[in-house]
């Protein structure tokens, strides 16, 4: 069986550094941070750990319905989603991830857009 991205980069030690860095960047971003203002830190970290592990082929599974449910009330719009993609890409690059692997993780993220963005194609009002 082919090894997942997460396995090839060393599993949890790698994941934890990526998630921490990503979490910091998200909360430092003027566009993204407002979405998480009222989210409990424990829940946010739990979700990000599972979701990033999932994107890298780790031991988590998200159905599209579950993703939609998690993001339903957040009202994420397309521009915010694009900032999130750019932030993730930057984080992975910071950890010297191979271009092909970055592309694969970003692809995994991008195909889930319909279940993360509140109203695809329509600029929704940013929360917060």
């Amino acid at each position: 069986m082919a090894r997942s991205v997460l396995e090839r980069y060393g599993g949890f030690p790698f994941l934890s550094r990526v998630v921490m860095a990503f979490y910091d960047k998200v909360l430092d971003s003027d566009v993204l941070a407002p979405y998480f203002e009222d989210v409990d830190m424990r829940r946010l970290i739990d979700h990000q750990t599972k979701f990033v592990a999932f994107l890298m082929g780790g031991p988590a599974s998200y159905t599209n319905e579950h993703l939609a449910q998690v993001h339903a009330r957040m009202g994420i719009d397309r521009p915010a989603f694009e900032v999130m993609i750019a932030t993730m890409r930057e984080t992975l690059e910071d950890f010297e991830m191979d271009d092909g692997d970055v592309a694969s993780v970003i692809h995994e993220l991008r195909v889930r857009a319909p279940w993360i963005i509140a109203a695809p194609g329509q600029p929704a009002a940013a929360a917060g």
Binding site: F12, I45, G58, P59, A60
Partner: protein, 354 residues
């Protein structure tokens, strides 16, 4: 630079939040810049420790301090859109004519974030392990349906199993006389359900006497005692199983519309047991022990159990039989054959007993 000035600089630039409070009134007497940054309202006149640090258990703090022990608590606060976790240590300092509470606050946000992440990840891994374990159990259960446990253990450990010879395996072959005559077209699912029910009952009887069901082919059923672990009682056990199967069918037929009439051949003889197949595994036995059992089954009258001298000689003291004389059996020469009628604990000679 004098020591006072150095100490003041240290206090102001430290990453640790420091404050002094009155042990009785809890009024803040002093706060360094870091403490003020985290708890801005401490600059208000008369602000008290218990008002600033929401979540502080004043009773517990006072009792700890009375015991001359530090009080420690973790508090969450919002700073610049982020949730910060601060570890607060409160100690009492007495001396030099002063009596104060020293409040020391450390930013442990990163530690907390990491803690939550480890928690989240370990739950994920535990869940995955649980799923894998379940899957493994499911596969194991399936494999145990097609091979005995000891063979499975060997196969699991070494990836292969060596064919084994058993000199005196006790084999039972059963076939139904009438099931092919039943009206299969009328209700196939019902027929299959009945057969399933019957074979399940056979399995229980076989298990009860330490035997192993090897396979079913259509409505034929094959079981063995002494494979893969031979025991002294195998020949007697195969006779016990055969008798109980016949009794079970008699009882069942008495109350059901479909009559299931079997023929049974039992034998004890040499067989080879092995896993057959590369992609599709099945544990099977073959050899003269099996061949003779099949011949004997064909010779059995409906609802009767046939055995030959090979097995009879091993269990003659424990069974009652009806001798049927010598018969020429293809591939086995001339054999004296018998119909099994009963054993000390179960007789089927009189049908009134059913």
């Amino acid at each position: 630079m004098d020591l006072d000035r150095f100490n003041r600089l240290l206090l102001e630039s430290a990453g640790v939040g420091l404050a002094l409070a009155d042990p009785e009134s809890l009024a803040i007497a002093f706060a360094n810049p870091r403490f003020t940054e985290w708890f801005p309202s401490c600059e208000d006149t008369g602000s008290r420790l218990d008002e600033l640090l929401v979540g502080l258990d004043v009773e517990r703090m006072r009792s700890r301090i009375a015991d001359d022990r530090p009080y420690r608590v973790e508090l969450e606060l919002k700073a610049n859109r982020r949730t910060m976790t601060v570890a607060v240590d409160v100690k009492r300092h007495q001396g030099d004519g002063s009596d104060l509470l020293v409040v020391e606050c450390q930013n442990i946000t990163k530690l907390k974030e990491l803690e939550y992440m480890v928690e989240s990840y370990s739950k994920m891994v535990e869940r995955q392990n649980r799923d894998l374990r379940k899957e493994k159990e499911r596969v194991e259960k399936l494999l145990l349906n097609i091979m005995p446990r000891t063979i499975y253990e060997e196969w699991k450990e070494f990836g292969v199993t060596a064919p084994q010879r058993f000199d005196r395996a006790a084999v039972l072959m059963l076939d139904f006389v009438s099931s092919t005559d039943m009206d299969i077209a009328a209700d196939p699912p019902a027929l299959v359900a009945e057969l399933n029910d019957i074979f399940t009952s056979f399995d229980r009887i076989v298990e009860q006497f330490g035997g192993e069901r090897l396979k079913t082919i259509g409505d034929a059923y094959m079981a063995v005692c002494g494979v893969p672990e031979p025991g002294a009682d195998d020949p007697r056990n195969i006779a016990r199983i055969a008798l109980r199967i016949v009794r079970y069918l008699h009882r069942r037929n008495a109350t059901q519309a479909n009559q299931w009439i079997c023929r049974i051949g039992i034998n004890a003889g040499p067989v080879v047991g092995s896993i057959i197949g590369v992609q599709k595994y099945v544990y099977d036995i073959f050899g003269p022990g099996v061949g003779l059992a099949a011949r004997l089954e064909a010779l059995a009258a409906p609802m009767e159990i046939t055995l030959a001298e090979d097995l009879y000689d091993l269990i003659r003291d424990d069974v009652t039989v009806h001798e049927r004389g010598e018969v020429e059996l293809k591939g086995f020469g001339t054999k004296r054959i018998y119909t099994l009628e009963g054993m000390s604990d179960l007789a089927i000679s009189s049908h009134d007993d059913w």
